[in-house]
């Protein structure tokens, strides 16, 4: 059951803000959802219709930690740390948020982040992040194309330079988009 999932999982786990729990095990329910998703969601969504934001998993699947140093708290010290860390128990995915001074705010953001990561894990190419990313990329690409027409010569010079600097893989990406 888990065979088709692993490559996708590995991809997601490579993401910078993710860490993998050593004793990782797939929640049976999630495993089911995963394999169903892997086989059924093949038809692409109509262009430009954005999928709705994914819902965070139920609280019972989340382990929450407020990151604060040890030692006394309460009135004796005034810490400004508002970092929140969530672990999704079934998958071992960990997300962290310390964007604002508000812990409540960070708790909400962290849940949204976790929902997006799980959506990516389950739906891969069809996840909201992937689709939104694709649309953004297309827009950026077409904008880039226009400007390239104007500055083709300059672009070509730059391409040569970057090929030299970044090696074959980078060069490939550049060729793809032209």
């Amino acid at each position: 059951m888990s065979t088709p999932i692993l490559p996708a999982l590995r991809g997601v786990l490579a993401g910078a803000s993710l860490t993998r729990n050593a004793g990782y095990q797939l929640h049976p329910a999630l495993g089911h959802r995963l394999s169903a998703a892997a086989f059924t969601t093949t038809s692409p969504l109509p262009v430009k219709q954005m999928p709705s934001r994914p819902k965070p998993p139920p609280e019972s699947e989340i382990e929450e930690a407020f990151l604060k140093g040890s030692g006394p708290g309460g009135q004796k010290i005034n810490k400004t740390n508002s970092a929140v860390q969530l672990k999704h128990i079934p998958t071992g995915i960990v997300v962290k948020c310390q964007a604002t001074r508000s812990r409540e705010n960070n708790r909400k953001t962290a849940r949204e982040l976790l929902a997006a990561k799980l959506d990516e894990l389950v739906n891969g190419d069809q996840s909201r992040n992937a689709i939104v990313g694709n649309v953004k990329k297309k827009r950026a690409d077409s904008a880039a194309k226009k400007s390239r027409r104007k500055y083709r010569k300059l672009e070509e010079e730059r391409k040569e330079a970057s090929e030299a600097a970044e090696g074959p893989e980078a060069a490939e990406k550049h060729t793809e988009s032209t």
């Binding site: 930690a65 708290g73 004796k76």
Partner: protein, 361 residues
């Protein structure tokens, strides 16, 4: 306090900025320094000032590096759904307080009869953070009447400003204008801040017409000794001692408790005078030791022990229900549930059979 390694300073200077390296003196670790610098920058960029931004950033970082609390520099602290204004002379709300206040609101919603008027008393309100967050959480479910008291005029006027500030921000629904605060009966929710000492004889008279269903208090609880040893320098130098250390040795003798426990003993005495109408009492405490002493104050009194059949100790983060274990009192043999993780932070008393109490009145 562990020494900060020179390498950390070097990293802060190189990877973030020289300002971050200065903030390390108070922040102690790289991540907090980076976060605080970002928040100070955001503040400089989003609030108007005659001082040029770069100079202002420099000034704020210097003050912070010398120990001024960030919240006094930025003027605010987020607390639950609210933005609480902070001014020197009034204690800054702590994250632990925020956490149990939200937990308390959830418990009240679950355990007390809906749509019946609910009276809440916040003793030692300071910025008004607890009172206002309870008001925000409870008004959709109960006609809520919150009364908050403090002995400090600066605190009371700041708490009042915090009410209007959060109404302005759209975080709170405006309560109807009140001429006689707590006496406006039952239909609409109200909140009022009153300049009054816990030890004033006037308190009981004010309360007896509308006895509180819930009493919550984060009183001064640091002993003289702990103030000079385990209290951080920034707190000692910048926050008001009146908010931190109880100075009522005569009363603590009278109430037969340690000097730093005098507010708890006095509030429990008040609860007795209110004849058990109060269903929920929540105290913030310094640590597990003080929590144990407060539990014993309840258990040594036959009447209180009879009313409050549920006695719990919560740690810093009560909403993490990992642990749930039992502690036994030294003198009495009561079992107490200890919830959450972190240091002992809250003593929670709950009269689960409220109805009977009203019968006894």
């Amino acid at each position: 306090m562990p020494r900060i390694r020179p390498f950390t300073f070097w990293l802060a200077r190189k990877k973030i900025s020289p300002q971050a390296a200065r903030l390390l003196f108070v922040c102690r670790d790289l991540l907090s320094a980076a976060n605080e610098l970002r928040w100070i920058r955001e503040h400089v960029n989003t609030t108007p000032s005659k001082i040029p931004p770069n100079l202002r950033l420099h000034q704020l970082c210097s003050k912070r590096a010398r120990g001024t609390p960030l919240q006094y520099l930025l003027g605010t602290q987020p607390f639950g759904d609210l933005e609480i204004l902070c001014r020197p002379g009034v204690l800054i709300p702590r994250p632990e307080t925020e956490c149990y206040t939200i937990e308390l609101a959830a418990l009240i919603k679950r355990n007390l009869p809906k749509h019946k008027p609910l009276n809440v008393l916040d003793i030692c309100t300071g910025t008004g953070c607890i009172a206002l967050q309870l008001y925000a959480s409870l008004t959709p479910h109960f006609p809520t009447h919150i009364q908050a008291i403090d002995i400090s005029p600066v605190a009371i006027s700041l708490a009042q400003r915090n009410l209007s500030h959060n109404i302005q921000l759209g975080n709170l629904i405006s309560p109807p204008p009140q001429l006689t605060p707590i006496l406006t009966p039952n239909t609409k929710s109200t909140v009022s801040f009153t300049l009054l000492s816990l030890f004033s004889p006037a308190l009981l008279t004010t309360l007896s017409s509308h006895p509180p269903d819930v009493i919550v208090s984060n009183p001064p609880y640091i002993s003289n000794k702990a103030f000079s040893t385990t209290t951080s320098r920034s707190v000692r130098n910048h926050e008001p001692r009146l908010a931190l250390v109880p100075e009522h040795d005569d009363i603590s003798l009278e109430l037969n408790c340690q000097p730093e426990d005098v507010f708890y003993a006095r509030i429990l005495h008040l609860a007795k005078e209110l004849k058990g109408c109060t269903r929920v009492i929540l105290f913030e405490v310094a640590d597990m030791e003080q929590a144990g002493r407060v539990v014993r104050l309840v258990e040594r009194d036959e009447v209180l022990r009879g009313w409050y059949d549920v006695v719990e100790i919560w740690r810093d983060w009560p909403d993490e229900e990992h642990e749930d274990h039992i502690v036994k009192g030294e003198e009495s043999n009561v079992a107490v549930a200890v919830k959450g993780i972190g240091e002992g932070r809250v003593v929670y008393l709950w009269n689960s059979r409220g109805g009977e109490m009203e019968g006894k009145r």
